[in-house]
Structures are given as structure tokens and as C-alpha cells.
């Protein structure tokens, strides 16, 4: 279904020429296209089937130190001419920004390694439906208390991206993504009420998707164990984040070390580079070159090679995440973490960001706690990136004498991220990549749990 790499590259190169013809001093162009199929099945019947083909392109034009961006999904000649004219007119209307500009030519990627991100296997609609049905059925069959379902979703998508700039960079890469998830609903006896949870599998390769029965069974287990959840009293206790919720601690770290947050003074980690912000056993790595991983890409949103960057090295904040612009603002080189939305300026995002695993098994970590909270779900947005103040809704399990005693809900956990990172007491050995962020089980020394 895809246009050939040459067609997309030619289009990007032609646009670069057009922007130059309008007098732009520098420019870059991003062209993307993709196909997707997704199916939702609920109570065995197909609830919805969705198919799409999409394309879009964006231009960023510089006139000296002024720049602007524009994008469209209409590739007709008149539309593209209008787009180029619009971009140039916009650029002339904004202020000069001394820091702006493309990356240095020497920094650009010179080769585009194959990171094994594309699987040409097509997943036929029948198979997609069947996968979803199998996962949902497995969740319903797991226990009679699983009485309902929010459905199972299965889908595949593939796409290609071309980035070109006036320094002569012309990069192409393509990727694919397969996913399956299921969200069962369980109802307990008496006044236990209803609970929902979910489980999922995501991969670049069709054959790497976990089998639907496993996904369904885990989803059911996760849902069933929440039945009968209750509040606990307000108290300060050790808190263990399961791997899913521990990823959010990486997400907050990524936001705090983003060059944009830092130069805007909007990060609680301002001025902490080179200083210990966590104990010595904590290492966090960003690595855009891991073959076949969800966060991998051969070049970043500005055409720089992606790479491995240690963010926390033995607890010391050893690097920020930067693109060219935010790097210049901070007097540093880009770390190859530019991300792009089509038709906008670069931003910074992690590639594959993960805690290096520790030695303890998750069971050992739970056993190490006499009284505490094991968190399996977080809701809400109560994180202040400027101060690090943290207060979120949580559910999970109460730990008593090293055992998960009963499910807990409607509580908050609160603290400050600066302290939370310092308080990482143990990191599990259970690192599994299920997305861009990956974490083992993490134990935090103490947080305030708000309940009754």
C-alpha cells in the first residue's frame, strides 16, 4: 500500500527546492504516510472495525533567525504551493530568535542503520478479529466472576517517514506496530461492586505479539484481584510501584530532564546536572538504537543519529535529553532526542528509556515490607514539574508482613519527586520492554498515603 521510498524522497526534496526558491535560508521537510487496521470485539461480536490510510507533510522554513512551520494532508500541487507561501509568510511575522536554526551539518546522521523496526507481515482482518476474540474469551473463561467486558482491541499499523533539510540530509525509515489488549469487567459477590483492569501486548513484529490466551488470562487475573478493594488509613509507609506504574516515574524524569523544561526554568531538576539525585544503585538509560524496540529510531526528528545516553549514572544526573535548539540554549550538544509532530518545531522525547534492572525479584521486594502499599494503578495529573510536588490517585494492594493482604482503592500517594528519586531503595530484576518506557518493580522508602 505504501508509496515507494523514492516517491516520498523525491517529494521532500522538491519541497526543499520550492522553499529555497521562496527565499528561505534554511528549511526542513517531513513527509509521513501510513496504513492502519484496528478491531474492537466486545462479548465476542465485532463492535467496530476501522481502517485508514493517512499521509501528511510539514515544512519548517527559516528566514535568517526567523522561522515558522506549516503542514497539510493535501498533496496536490496547488495545496503545496499555498503551504510553502503560508510558511514563508508566517516566518516573516515572528520575532528573530538568535538560537534558531538547523543542526550543524556535521552533526547529521550519515547512515541510516536498519534497526529491525519493520515487519511486512500483514494481519488480515479475519485474523485481527480472531485474535481479539480469543483474548476476550480467555479473560471471560478465566473465572465466573468475569461477567462483562469493555472489549478487546487488536490492530496493526505501518508507516514511513522521510526527513529532508537544506544541508542535504535525506533520511527514510519505516516501521510497523502490532497490538492486542483486553479490558474485562468482573463483579464480586455482595457489595464488592465492579472492577475493570486490562492487559496488553505491543510489538514491532507480528510474531512477537504475546498469544491472546496469555493476554486474556493476565487481564482477568489483574481484574479479579481488585474485587473487594477498600480504603486504608492515612499514614506514611513504604510504597512499591509495579513495573507498569513505575514507568510513570521514568516519564516524570524524562519531562524534568527535557532541555525545553530546563531552559524555561520549568523543571524541579534545574541545576542538578552532575549531582546525585538518586542512590548509587540507580542507573537510567535512554537508548534509541535497541533493535526492534518500540522507542527505537535510526535518526531523530532533526536528522541526528540516535544513540545511547545514560541519564542517571550510579545515581548521578549525568545527561539531559536535548535537541539542537534546547541544547544551544543550555550550551550543550544535542543528545539526538529531537521528536517531531508533523508541521511543528522539534521537541524532546525519550527513545527507549529504562531503569537498569537490580538483583531482587519482585516477590523479594514485597517480602521486604512489613506494612506498605503495592501500587498497580495511578490516576490523575497531580504532578507539578516545576516543584516536583507529587499527589496522585492510586489503587493496588496493602502489604502486611511481606504479603499482599487485600486490594486497596480510593487512596492518594504524595511526596516530592526530588525525594522520591532519592528514596529508591530497591529495583527489581523484572525489566521487560512493553513500550518506550520500561521499568522493573521499584520500592520507595516512604510516601504519604491519603485514605480515611
Amino acid at each position: 500500500m505504501h508509496e515507494s521510498p523514492e516517491v516520498l524522497k523525491t517529494l521532500a526534496a522538491e519541497l526543499i527546492d520550492r522553499v529555497k526558491a521562496h527565499g528561505a535560508t534554511e528549511a526542513d521537510v517531513l513527509v509521513a504516510e501510513g496504513d492502519s487496521v484496528s478491531v474492537q470485539v466486545r462479548l465476542s461480536a465485532v463492535d467496530r472495525l476501522s481502517k485508514a490510510r493517512e499521509k501528511s507533510l510539514g515544512i519548517r522554513a527559516f528566514f535568517g533567525k526567523r522561522s515558522a512551520s506549516a503542514s497539510t494532508s493535501d498533496f496536490s500541487d496547488t495545496s503545496l504551493e499555498q503551504l510553502v507561501a503560508d510558511t514563508c509568510a508566517l516566518a516573516k511575522a515572528v520575532a528573530e530568535d538568535e538560537t534558531s536554526g538547523l543542526p550543524e551539518q556535521a552533526a547529521l546522521a550519515t547512515d541510516v542503520p536498519d534497526l529491525d523496526l519493520y515487519d511486512p507481515t500483514t494481519m488480515p482482518v479475519e485474523e485481527t478479529i480472531h485474535m481479539a476474540q480469543r483474548a476476550e474469551q480467555a479473560s471471560m473463561d478465566a473465572d465466573p466472576r468475569v461477567t462483562n467486558s469493555e472489549g478487546a482491541e487488536c490492530g496493526s499499523a505501518s508507516g514511513a517517514v522521510v526527513l529532508a533539510n537544506t544541508h542535504g540530509f535525506l533520511g527514510y525509515h519505516r516501521s510497523s506496530r502490532f497490538s492486542l489488549s483486553v479490558a474485562p469487567v468482573a463483579e464480586g459477590p455482595d457489595d464488592q461492586g465492579m472492577q475493570r483492569d486490562y492487559w496488553y501486548t505491543v510489538s514491532r513484529k507480528r510474531h512477537e505479539l504475546e498469544d491472546p490466551e496469555t493476554v486474556g488470562r493476565i487481564a482477568a487475573e489483574r481484574t479479579l484481584r481488585r474485587l473487594g478493594a477498600r480504603k486504608v488509613g492515612t499514614q506514611r509507609v513504604p510504597v512499591i510501584f509495579d513495573p507498569e506504574t513505575a514507568c510513570s516515574l521514568l516519564g516524570h524524569l524524562a519531562s524534568a530532564v527535557s532541555g525545553y523544561a530546563l531552559y524555561k526554568g520549568a523543571s524541579f531538576l534545574l541545576g542538578q546536572l552532575g549531582k546525585p539525585i538518586a542512590p548509587k544503585h540507580v542507573n537510567v538509560e535512554d537508548n534509541g538504537r535497541l533493535p526492534g524496540k518500540i522507542g527505537s529510531r535510526p535518526f531523530d526528528g532533526e536528522g541526528l543519529p540516535t544513540r545511547k545516553t545514560l541519564i542517571l549514572n550510579r545515581g548521578v544526573l549525568s545527561s539531559y535529553l536535548l535537541d539542537t535548539y534546547s541544547g544551544r540554549k543550555l550550551g550543550m550538544a544535542s543528545t539526538g532526542n529531537a521528536s517531531r509532530s508533523i508541521g511543528d518545531n522539534p521537541n524532546v522525547s525519550p527513545t527507549n528509556l529504562f531503569f537498569h534492572p537490580g538483583d531482587a525479584s519482585p516477590e523479594e521486594i514485597i517480602r521486604s515490607v512489613t506494612q506498605g502499599l503495592y501500587v498497580t494503578e495511578l490516576i490523575g495529573f497531580g504532578v507539578n514539574m516545576v516543584t516536583g510536588d507529587y499527589s496522585r490517585g492510586a489503587s493496588g494492594f496493602w502489604i502486611e508482613n511481606g504479603e499482599l493482604a487485600y486490594p486497596v482503592e480510593e487512596v492518594t500517594i504524595a511526596g516530592n519527586l526530588k525525594q522520591i528519586y532519592q528514596d529508591i531503595e530497591s529495583i527489581g530484576n523484572d525489566l521487560v520492554f512493553r513500550g518506550k518506557l520500561a521499568s522493573p518493580t521499584i520500592r520507595i522508602r516512604e510516601m504519604m498515603v491519603g485514605g480515611h
Binding site: 481502517k51 493517512e54 494532508s73 490523575g380
Partner: protein, 477 residues
């Protein structure tokens, strides 16, 4: 000023082509199909470090084709409407129709409604010069810095959308609308020694550009963001545990959006996965609470002349004097549940499927004096501004996070406290509402609601209310 009427010609299409496309989709066993055409021009400028350095513009257009058969929906979308795309859509729809059929459809109850003209603006947003946008943001920087020398960083953005939509259905409906939307947002950072704090404020709606200069709005947004940042420099730790909480009027209405609004969207109730399933006619709030969803308020961010299925928007009473009385619906769920259409069928864009969504959700004014409400609390929290919120529909647990709050001690508002998350249970929290003020206010026009990955603009509103007990997620005991 008359309402702009959107016609097929504006999408370079003829009636004959649309009829052919619908006929192609409308195969055996399809009980309804529609095509949604959309063209949106979005423009955004941002300022930081005292200069407007970012300007972006995007043009997005395409069509989504949907067919429903029983409970099943087939959907395809494309950024072109070529023969090939229509074939793809028809194949997708046909697949649905040939699959085993779900429950028998229930006839839809149509509601009579007038044709709205809720956002007649003089000058289309696409005609606003970039220079005027830049000048607007430049006002902000000066004003925020003038507010207090401790304001060290000012960031602002101004976004506009000019959306043109048209929906064509197998029932012969052709309905279109031009939907302007804009928002001005300001963030300030205040510093005092090593203490650094943030404040944000913004506003907007389906309004013309002049709105931001009227009543000194742009500058007042800047002062408000600066005020919050400065205030937070002196904030103490928030308490943890169960407390009485007084919510200020306006934006704290996000409580209603999270605690009850989502739980009353018809899809979750048809699937019986909502904590509110089977509670119609039952008490879910104290008798001082009457809550409505109203898509017909002029110029409001959550308002629409018609929803994305062509149904005129309405005012729907969700909870009347504490009794749950209605759900908000789209066509599919109204038909399957045999309940009225409320004009709440919304989609983010042509790439997404219609879902029942809120418009402007608020509690009607009560009779209490706001001062009396505060005076009634011996020890508690007074929360006047919030960040985001979230809800687990199935168990009803919801959170929303205060960004400006104060301690109440012996009936008096005392120290500002750091942000804290409030957590409660949707079907219970409104039973704890014991006083409702007479000061209903709607928010300033900044709300965006996310559901199944789709974002749509919404509004909320609230008078000052007292909640007798809710869990506050602070750090101090």
C-alpha cells in the same frame, strides 16, 4: 450576521457523488451509515523569553465513513475522498454487515429542536493576521512582569481552529456547521531564592478575536497566572486525609465532569460497565444538587450548533435534586437503548469515531451565601483552581488536582497550600454536598476532555459548594 451554511461544494463535492458513496456503504443489514467531511485550519503562535518565536499552521481535511449494523460499527477514514477510499470504506462496512448480527435495533426517539446560531462571529479566525496574534502575546509578557518583579519567566500561546464540517446520512440528512474555537493560555514562573513556583491561566471559546481585547481579558489572564505563581511561593504542605472541602465557583466544576459526567455517557451504560449503570431514578446526590449538560450556551467552548451526527445540541438534565434522571447520547447508543437523542454525539475529527461526550456540564445555583459556606467549616480545604482530573468509570473512583487551594481554619480562609489531588467515588461524593452557593459561574474556556484517545473541547461550571467529606492527598498530617 447570519449563520454560515456549509455546503458540499465547499468540499469540492457534488450531491450525486455523496449519494453514490452512501449507496455503496448502505449494503444489506446496514441500518445506518454516514459520511463526515471535515476541513480544519489550525494556527498557533507562542511566546517565551519575551519574544514570539513560534508560529505554526496546519490544514487537515478528510472524510470518515461509518456504517452501523446492530451494535456493530464499521469505520474507515481517509485524507482523500477518491474512488479507492470509498471502496475501502464500503468494504469495511460490508464486513460489519456480514458478521453475525447483534441485538435488534430499537427505534430512535427524535427530539424537536430549533436551529442554533450559537457563535456568530464577525471575522473568521482565519482572517486574523499573524501580526495581530503576535501583538496579543506581547501584551501578556509586559503585564505579567509588571505584576511582580519575582515573575521571572512568562510563556503564552494563542491557538485558533477554524473547523468546517458536514455530515451526510443514509436517512437523507445533510447538516453542516462552521465551528470556530480559540484559546489563550499563560504560564508564569515566580522565583524567590531557590523557591520556584508556577501559575497558569487562560480562556477562550467559540469567540472572535476581539474577545481577547474586550474587558481587558488578555492582560487579566496574565495577571491571574502571575498571581497564582506568586501565591504559591508562600504555600505550605497540603493536609492528607478526609476533610470537608469547599470548592470555589467556575472551573472546580471539573468535579462534576469526572465524578458523574463520564459515568452518565450512554455507551458505558449500554455496556453496563459504569458505576452508574442501573441507577436511573435513584438518589446519587443530595437534594441541593441539580446538574445539567448544555451544548446550547452562546460562544462557549463546549457548545455546538449541531453535534457531529447533525443532531441539534440540547440541554439535558442529568441529576435533578439529587435523583439521576438521564444519560447523554449519540445515535448508536440512543437507538440501542431506546432513549432520546441529546445531541452529544461528538468526535475529535474525521479520523475518529463518534462517541457520546459532554458539552458544558454544570450544577445549577443554590441559595447559600458563599461566605456562609466558608464560615460553616471549622477545619478544611478551600480549593479554587484545578489542573486535570481522571475517572475509572467502572468502580467510579475519580481524582482531580487542586492547583490553588487554602486552609480553612475556624471558618476563615488562611494559608495557601501546595497542590493536592482529591479522590472520591462518583456515586457517593455528591451525596456529601450539603451547601450550594448562589454564585454559579462557568469556567473561562480552557477545558479539553479525553476519552478513548480523542480530545474534544468542553466547558464546566459550579457555584461555591461544600463537600462534607472527601479524601485530600497532601503530605502533612
Amino acid at each position: 450576521m447570519s449563520q454560515q451554511v456549509v455546503k458540499l461544494e465547499q468540499f469540492a463535492l457534488e450531491e450525486r457523488e455523496v449519494e453514490q458513496a452512501l449507496a455503496r456503504v448502505n449494503v444489506r443489514a446496514v441500518d445506518y451509515a454516514d459520511i463526515y467531511f471535515e476541513s480544519t485550519i489550525s494556527e498557533s503562535v507562542s511566546m517565551e523569553e519575551g519574544i514570539v518565536k513560534r508560529a505554526v499552521k496546519s490544514i487537515s481535511q478528510g472524510a470518515g465513513v461509518r456504517a452501523t449494523s446492530g451494535e456493530k460499527t464499521g469505520f474507515a477514514y481517509s485524507d482523500e475522498l477518491s474512488q479507492r477510499d470509498l471502496e475501502l470504506a464500503a468494504d469495511t462496512a460490508r464486513y460489519i454487515a456480514d458478521s453475525p448480527k447483534g441485538e435488534a435495533p430499537v427505534p430512535v426517539t427524535h427530539r424537536p429542536a430549533g436551529l442554533h446560531n450559537l457563535y456568530p462571529i464577525e471575522q473568521p479566525l482565519t482572517d486574523v493576521d499573524t501580526q495581530e496574534r503576535v501583538d496579543l502575546l506581547n501584551l501578556i509578557d509586559q503585564e505579567a512582569r509588571r505584576y511582580d518583579p519575582r515573575i521571572t519567566k512568562v510563556m503564552a500561546s494563542f491557538n485558533t481552529d477554524h473547523k468546517m464540517m458536514l455530515v451526510a446520512t443514509t436517512e437523507g440528512l445533510r447538516a453542516g456547521d462552521v465551528q470556530p474555537l480559540s484559546r489563550l493560555q499563560v504560564t508564569c514562573i515566580a522565583e524567590e531564592g531557590t523557591n520556584r513556583q508556577v501559575g497558569t491561566f487562560g480562556g477562550g471559546g467559540r469567540v472572535g478575536f476581539s474577545f481577547y481585547h474586550e474587558q481587558d481579558r488578555a492582560r487579566s489572564y496574565a495577571r491571574e497566572a502571575a498571581r497564582q505563581a506568586i501565591l504559591n511561593l508562600g504555600a505550605v504542605d497540603a493536609p492528607a486525609g478526609v476533610l470537608p472541602v469547599v470548592l470555589g465557583s467556575g472551573w472546580p466544576g471539573i468535579l462534576l465532569h469526572e465524578a458523574v459526567g463520564h459515568g452518565l455517557e450512554a455507551d458505558f451504560n449500554r455496556k453496563k460497565t459504569s458505576a452508574f449503570s442501573n441507577l436511573i431514578g435513584q438518589r446519587v446526590a443530595s437534594d441541593v444538587c441539580t446538574i445539567v449538560d448544555d451544548g446550547t450556551l452562546p460562544f462557549r467552548r463546549g457548545s455546538l450548533n449541531i453535534d457531529d451526527e447533525g443532531t441539534p445540541t440540547t440541554r439535558t438534565v442529568l441529576i435533578e435534586e439529587g435523583i439521576l434522571c438521564g444519560y447523554i447520547t449519540d445515535r448508536l447508543n440512543a437507538r440501542l437503548m431506546g432513549i432520546p437523542l441529546t445531541g452529544n454525539g461528538r468526535r475529535e475529527d474525521f479520523r475518529s469515531l463518534v462517541l457520546p461526550r459532554m458539552t458544558n456540564t454544570f450544577m445549577l445555583a443554590g441559595t447559600s451565601e458563599p461566605e456562609d459556606i466558608l464560615r460553616s467549616v471549622k477545619k478544611g480545604l478551600y480549593a479554587v483552581s484545578f489542573g486535570g482530573g481522571q475517572v475509572d468509570i467502572t468502580n467510579g473512583k475519580f481524582v482531580f488536582s487542586a492547583s490553588e487551594a487554602y486552609l480553612i481554619e475556624d471558618g476563615k480562609v488562611t494559608k495557601p497550600v501546595k497542590g493536592a489531588t482529591l479522590i472520591g467515588s462518583g456515586p457517593d461524593v455528591l451525596k456529601q454536598v450539603s451547601m450550594v452557593g448562589h454564585d454559579l459561574q462557568l469556567d473561562s474556556g480552557i477545558g479539553t476532555c479525553g476519552k478513548e484517545g480523542q480530545s474534544v473541547p468542553v466547558g464546566v461550571g459550579l457555584p461555591t459548594i461544600r463537600i462534607d467529606e472527601i479524601t485530600v492527598g497532601g503530605t502533612s498530617t
